[in-house]
């Protein structure tokens, strides 16, 4: 938690407050714990029914399977990245209905109408398709010049379904491994 620093430097290597004094500044005696959350210890064993006439019955088996392979040496894991780029702020010259010029990509040079900014920060834009063949697409603000020409747009008419998820690539369905496919 970010608050003003609890300690300060008098000179190099000499702090104003000692280690225990800094800890005491946390005023823990005044704070109440949030309330011990009852944590059920994870089940160590689980009972599994074994099928088959000859096997029959139940077995008590470890709930978490022991790994089949233990690495000989510890491998260092890369640190998790906790940095996230913020959403780009919309330029004040870009307003729903503004005619934009696309600077790069397949439709470079085309003039398109700006519809709205999506949650990812990208601009939702359309030719309109019947006018110049530019479909509904997303475009980054940096690759666009805003002209002073504006087209009247009713913002309410833009379908709420048009968001980043609409433009997401469909995940390739995993093909179930069949014997035939294996020998193809």
């Amino acid at each position: 938690m970010v608050h003003k620093p609890r300690n300060s430097l008098l000179t190099v290597g000499v702090n104003k407050y000692s280690r225990s004094q800094v800890v005491a500044k946390r005023v823990l005696y005044k704070r109440k714990p949030a309330g011990a959350v009852a944590v059920c210890p994870p089940a160590v064993n689980k009972t599994v029914e074994v099928k088959g006439a000859k096997n029959g019955g139940t077995r008590v088996v470890a709930a978490a399977k022991a790994p089949r392979f233990y690495a000989a040496e510890d491998v260092a894991l890369p640190k998790k990245n906790r940095k996230h780029a913020g959403v780009a702020k919309l330029r004040n010259t870009i307003v729903p209905g503004t005619v934009l010029i696309l600077l790069a990509g397949r439709y470079r040079g085309k003039r398109v109408v700006f519809l709205k900014q999506l949650e990812s920060g990208l601009l939702l834009v359309s030719g309109p398709f019947k006018v110049n063949g530019v479909p509904l697409k997303r475009v980054n603000q940096a690759y666009v010049i805003a002209t002073s020409t504006k087209v009247e747009l009713d913002a309410a008419k833009i379908d709420a379904q048009l968001n980043d998820a609409y433009f997401a690539r469909p995940k390739a369905a995993k093909k179930a491994a069949t014997e035939e496919a294996f020998f193809e």
């Binding site: 330029r91 600077l103 790069a104 470079r108 040079g109 940096a142 010049i145 805003a146």
Partner: protein, 104 residues
């Protein structure tokens, strides 16, 4: 379709009288004559496009991308840093100053 870039020329490397630093190239952009004019071009991406004999990825045309980093002098020249340093063969060659990333 119209040209979506400004034309520029590679003037040389950043240099003093007797030493040069090849990591930064100097570029003169057509029509940009004063220090104030260069402000628009700062940050813009530059492409040095050239041809080669051997085909790579289906094309004999190759490109080195870079960005304009700052102005150079008071007469509109500009410093640019490329992903890989420009070859000295590029001095006097054309360079494309794209209009993106746009701030307009």
């Amino acid at each position: 379709m119209s040209r979506l870039y400004a034309k520029g020329r590679v003037l040389g490397f950043k240099r003093a009288k007797r030493n040069q630093r090849p990591d930064i190239s100097l570029v003169q952009i057509e029509g940009v004559k004063t220090l104030a004019d260069t402000e628009f071009y700062l940050g813009k991406r530059i492409a040095f496009v050239y041809r080669a004999k051997r085909e790579v990825n289906g094309s004999k045309i190759r490109c080195i991308w870079g960005r304009i980093t700052r102005a150079h002098g008071g007469s509109g020249a500009v410093k640019a840093r490329f992903r890989n340093n420009l070859p000295a063969k590029s001095f006097g060659a054309s360079v494309r100053v794209m209009m993106y990333p746009s701030r307009v």
